[in-house]
Amino acid sequence: MRQTHDSSVPETIPEKSGNGFWALAWLRFRDDRVGVVSIIFVAAFFIIVFLSALGAVASDWNKEVGIHDAPPDLWGLLTPVPPPEAMGNAAQRVAQTIKTAQHGEALLPSTVVDPLAETLAQLQGERMEGAFPESRVVDPLAETLRELGAEGMVLSAVEEKNAAKRTSLPFGGDRWGRDVLTKTIKGSQISITVGLSAALLATLLGTLLGALAGYYGGRTDDVLNWAYSVFNAIPYLLLILAVAAVLQQRGVMTVILILGLTGWTGVFRLIRAEYLKHRGREYVQAARAFGVPDRRILFLHILPNVSHVALVKVSLLAVGFIKAEVILSFLGFGVAVDEVSWGSMLNDAYQELILGRWWELAAAGGAMALFVTVFSLLTDAMRDALDPKIRETS
């Protein structure tokens, strides 16, 4: 028989707290080597997230500390590729191009390729034949280039500023020279916070509705079951995209609300089944006979007995929501432009990879894969420890 008084998280239970349900679960958990290792990793991630949320680390992720696309050096372990020429520092290349142009020399064909040159030549050829009037063929950038050339001062200032920047960073830099390591820490903070908060919101909502449906049955159950079938009829990704389409706002809070308010159905089903099972049990009948109000029976008597189901569900949901947030942010429907998450990092990384800059992809994809892996392994271990009966089949 499970005891009802002890509802704190299993990890914090001291060994001598008796043979309560959670204490037994903790004993089982401790024997699971994979579970113990994964909880250490998860704890490390949470410490980083916490420090980052407090502003102790990564608060300056938006600062351009390195040169553009600074290569990674892993604190000296990796020999960074010599930066400007070989790596193609965009600003310097433009500066050089303009200088050359100013002196009236021919542009180096190998370094500067005008993607429109062919079309222009073609158009000019056609113009010769009189197909187009002269005014139609104008280089749209000519004016700007001349202006830039005249403002050589500005360019040299940019070069000086660049000189003060670091030529390599531990995990490399992004297009703007922002430190990928700092960005990854900040991105982890946002993605993990969004995933966990949304999972908490969805679980609270699902537990509340599931408790009402399971305990009261009848008309309440019918209405809530109907709502469940409606939400379940629409594929999840389509539902969150539809909500994202109508909510024009972007940002962390919006994502949490979208995911939390649409993702409650799984919890609802589980908790409803649990309450159906428990409402006929003796302890509930006894409480009712004593005249305990429904509110207390629902949330003080029954809830502690089903909370382990909710706990496992929170962490399962968190994994799903982190993945969903990454996709939403990648597509531009997630976090705002001045925020960073694993998803928005992957979007930056996608564009950088074509130019051979692999480090942001490795950092964001790696951080996410590591966290989700250890978190999933922890969830598995937790489920095994909390419900030894289902261990056999899964």
């Binding site: 079938s229 939400f231 594929p235 389409a245 996709i327």
Partner: protein, 312 residues
């Protein structure tokens, strides 16, 4: 059986009405006045009034829901707000490319996962089994975005084994050239979760009495798994695959976006980006209907292959 099907079809009606109501609330009230979205940045009050009249949103809510229902039944959602193309045409032309990728993916993916899960089931509870399961967890933890980005970069951009993106009018060219890499990516992404699930189906069967009997008769382990266990485990597998199809139609949207495949998923993304409400509404409604029918079909197949199942 007939009575069961009729009852299930009748049960779909309140669910469908709920979907309609949810979409109506979402697109008319939660997101603000659609007329302002349609009017763009510069507008006059007269224009707004005109758009409201054209959309019918100046009429009472029940009339508007009636119009919405009529649109669903007649499959006439008017024209897209951004391209003016009729929504029904959009749906019709986008379904083909989506299915060109999805059907081969579904068949190949299911067969692959079945074969591998039987192999894994043979090593159940061993270290190999545990390692494969952990590898699956790791594989599932990597974002689908990372798979697509890396596969596209390596196989299409660097090695040039496949075109980077594109689509043609010929089914054969699409299947052999343009859909090949997307299908390969889909296989890799889907393998880990499918393998985990199918393995649990197999293990449910392995514990059954008939397996013990078969073993007592002296059958080889291979024969037990590939003939006896597989036949029984295929019931939940078929059910799962059937029910997953409509969701896949939308779920493949990232693959369609990266490879510019003109399918349903890419259309959803474009519509969300452009606030093209008629398109989103139409796709959501029809995918919801497809989901309900797929679930019904899955239950009927379940009944057909397993006579012990009672349909309630």
């Amino acid at each position: 059986m007939t009575a069961y099907i009729i009852r299930r079809l009748l049960q779909m009606i309140p669910t469908m009405l709920g979907v309609v109501l949810l979409l109506f609330v979402l697109f008319n009230w939660v997101g603000g006045d659609p007329a302002y979205i349609l009017a763009g940045k510069v507008f006059s009050e007269a224009q707004i009034a005109n758009i409201r009249y054209q959309l019918g949103i100046d009429r009472p809510a029940y009339v508007q829901i009636g119009i919405f229902l009529k649109q669903i039944i007649t499959a006439d959602f008017g024209a897209s707000w951004s391209t003016q193309e009729p929504v029904s045409d959009i749906l019709k032309t986008r379904l083909g490319p989506s299915l060109t990728v999805l059907l081969p993916l579904l068949v190949l993916g299911t067969l692959l996962a079945i074969a591998l899960s039987l192999v894994v089931a043979r090593f159940r509870r061993s270290l190999t089994d545990r390692m494969v399961m952990i590898a699956c967890t790791v594989g599932m933890s990597i974002s689908i975005l990372v798979y697509i980005i890396i596969f596209q970069y390596v196989f299409a951009y660097r090695l040039a084994w496949f075109p980077i993106q594109g689509w043609s009018d010929s089914l054969w060219t699409n299947l052999t050239t343009f859909a090949a890499l997307p299908i390969l990516i889909g296989l890799c992404v889907g393998l880990a979760p499918d393998l985990r699930l199918f393995r649990s189906f197999m293990l449910d069967e392995v514990e059954q009495d008939y397996v013990r009997t078969a073993r007592a008769k002296g059958l080889t382990e291979k024969r037990i798994l590939w003939i006896h266990v597989l036949r029984n485990a295929s019931i939940p597998i078929v059910t799962y695959v059937m029910a997953a199809l409509p969701g896949l139609l939308v779920g493949a949207l990232l693959i369609e976006r990266f490879f510019s495949i003109p399918g349903i998923g890419r259309e959803v993304l474009l519509a969300v980006e452009r606030s093209d409400f008629p398109v989103i509404k139409a796709i959501t409604v029809y995918v919801a209907i497809a989901t309900m029918f797929a679930n019904l079909a899955a239950d009927l197949i379940y009944k057909a292959v397993d006579p012990r199942v009672e349909l309630k």
